[in-house]
């Protein structure tokens, strides 16, 4: 009984500890998207970046940022910057993500991360967690979309926009890591 209890406690403690996120995105992953194509996370061209946003249909914190996400695409979307939403939740499927993309008017596809392998490798545990990956697969930024949670302020620190501005100018991001303030992703 003592051994069993110890094992359960040990499992709970380990299960509650988040794994360290990788500094490198998996280059071989090909994920099916709501646009009907397979997507890789790592861009092929030198100087190009993929902005990966982890989404959840239930997260009101992410919903509060929808306008800002669309503006990011307007401001930075180009042949050098590609936006990709990732649904890693245990209930993820293309049908629900197509509905989500339409409902939220996302100007980028949502890919289904079955088994949440990508979320685990990139350390994503909250909706709204955003990762910028370069053509080598290196993670150049990880964290929140900005410093706001639900009550948006004009003077928020625009982490992703700042990072993209810096990267496109050939400089390292002024902030390479921040805190995600979103909802817990249901990964298992």
């Amino acid at each position: 009984v003592v051994v069993k209890r110890t094992a359960v406690l040990t499992w709970l403690i380990f299960a509650s500890c988040a794994a360290s996120p990788a500094a490198q995105a998996p280059s071989e992953s090909r994920l099916e998207g709501t646009d009907g194509t397979l997507h890789t996370i790592v861009p092929r061209e030198q100087g190009a970046y993929t902005v990966v946003i982890f989404v959840s249909p239930d997260c009101h914190v992410l919903a509060a940022h929808d306008d800002r996400l669309r503006k990011l695409v307007t401001d930075f979307g180009s042949s050098r910057v590609r936006f990709l939403a990732v649904d890693s939740e245990v209930d993820a499927n293309l049908e629900r993500d197509r509905a989500l993309a339409v409902e939220r008017r996302y100007p980028f596809p949502i890919v289904v991360d079955r088994g949440a392998d990508l979320a685990r490798s990139l350390g994503a545990t909250y909706a709204g967690h955003t990762v910028i990956v370069d053509h080598t697969g290196a993670v150049r930024y990880r964290g929140g979309i900005d410093s706001d949670r639900v009550k948006l302020r004009d003077d928020a620190t625009a982490y992703v926009a700042d990072a993209l501005t810096d990267l496109l100018a050939g400089k390292p991001p002024r902030v390479a890591e921040s805190k995600s303030l979103g909802c817990a992703l249901r990964l298992r």
């Binding site: 299960a15 997260c59 009101h60 245990v90 909250y126």
Partner: protein
């Protein structure tokens, strides 16, 4: 007066329930051991001020029958709690609550107002699993707390009506288990708490007497709904039972009886910004015979202002 550590724990847990921003956010669920300040998953620290006012409108006898308060008697309670919480581990947090308590009592013959600092509480919470992060496994958290006898016990009260009593007069340890799960914007929580108070010796006219209060067991169930603007509304119900206290040596005529304490609550939360929020709640002891035993029935209004850091 009903300001036991348990009651503080219940009300605190109720406020925490109000803070429940369900929405798969795995935050602020149905209970925290003994402080209203529970950190949401994205928060690192918070401080707050909580104001309470209560009115005792009746009581339950030792056989559980309810009776309204006699005419011409009044009991009002007021409390100002300062509290803070700090994240010390990614899933672990500590909290401190310092209460200031005042009581006004009036009988047909006299009235009295008194108060002072109450029993300071220190608590901890560790979330093994966050609500919402797994489909079938609910959020699981362990709660622990200790209440220090910094208040004035009823035996030490100078006032004839005991209005300057602000504490239980002994250490109290709390241990709890919280289970919670999200479903869209809804959050459901059940918390079990056990509180054990240390024995204490008090002087009586017949000499020193050692009293040992039995353990208090509390079950708290709560449901919260989070709106898109991060406001939340929660309802809760709790039921506490306490065994028969022991007195040594036995005292003739001492009223030793178990207690039952029901409580219903409605709590709301309104965030002004991501950092500032206002929480308020209304709590009621349902005045229905046999629901309670050897306890007062009261209505209480609670208002709290919190500042958090992420």
């Amino acid at each position: 007066m009903g300001r036991s550590g348990l009651r503080a724990a219940l009300l605190a847990a109720a406020i925490v329930a109000a803070a429940a921003r369900a929405s798969a956010q795995a935050c602020c669920a149905g209970a925290a051991a003994v402080t209203p300040g529970r950190l949401a998953i994205h928060e690192d620290a918070l401080v707050g001020l909580q104001l309470k006012t209560s009115n005792v409108f009746g009581s339950f006898s030792t056989d559980g029958s309810y009776a309204s308060a006699p005419p011409s008697t009044t009991e009002w309670g007021f409390e100002q709690d300062m509290f803070g919480a700090l994240r010390v581990l990614p899933r672990g947090q500590l909290a401190l609550l310092v209460p200031l308590i005042e009581t006004y009592r009036r009988t047909p013959n006299q009235s009295s107002l008194g108060g002072g600092i109450g029993d300071i509480n220190f608590s901890a919470r560790y979330d093994f699993v966050l609500a919402g992060e797994a489909r079938y496994i609910p959020g699981i958290a362990v709660l622990a707390g200790v209440t220090f006898p910094t208040g004035e016990s009823i035996e030490s009260a100078d006032n004839d009506l005991g209005t300057d009593a602000t504490g239980v007069g002994t250490y109290q340890a709390n241990l709890g288990l919280a289970i919670e799960q999200t479903a869209g914007p809804w959050l459901f929580g059940v918390t079990g708490l056990v509180a054990k108070r240390a024995s204490r010796t008090v002087d009586t006219v017949t000499g020193p007497v050692t009293t040992s209060l039995a353990a208090q067991w509390t079950l708290l169930a709560s449901t919260a709904y989070t709106f898109p603007n991060d406001a939340a509304l929660a309802v809760l119900a709790s039921y506490a039972v306490e065994g028969t206290p022991e007195v040594a040596p036995p005292v003739n005529g001492a009223l030793l009886t178990p207690r039952r304490m029901p409580l219903l609550g409605l709590v709301g939360l309104h965030p002004f910004t991501d950092a500032w929020r206002l929480q308020g709640g209304l709590f009621l002891t349902p005045p229905i015979s046999s629901f309670g035993q050897a306890t007062t029935a009261q209505v209480e209004f609670v208002l709290a202002l919190l500042r958090s850091w992420s």
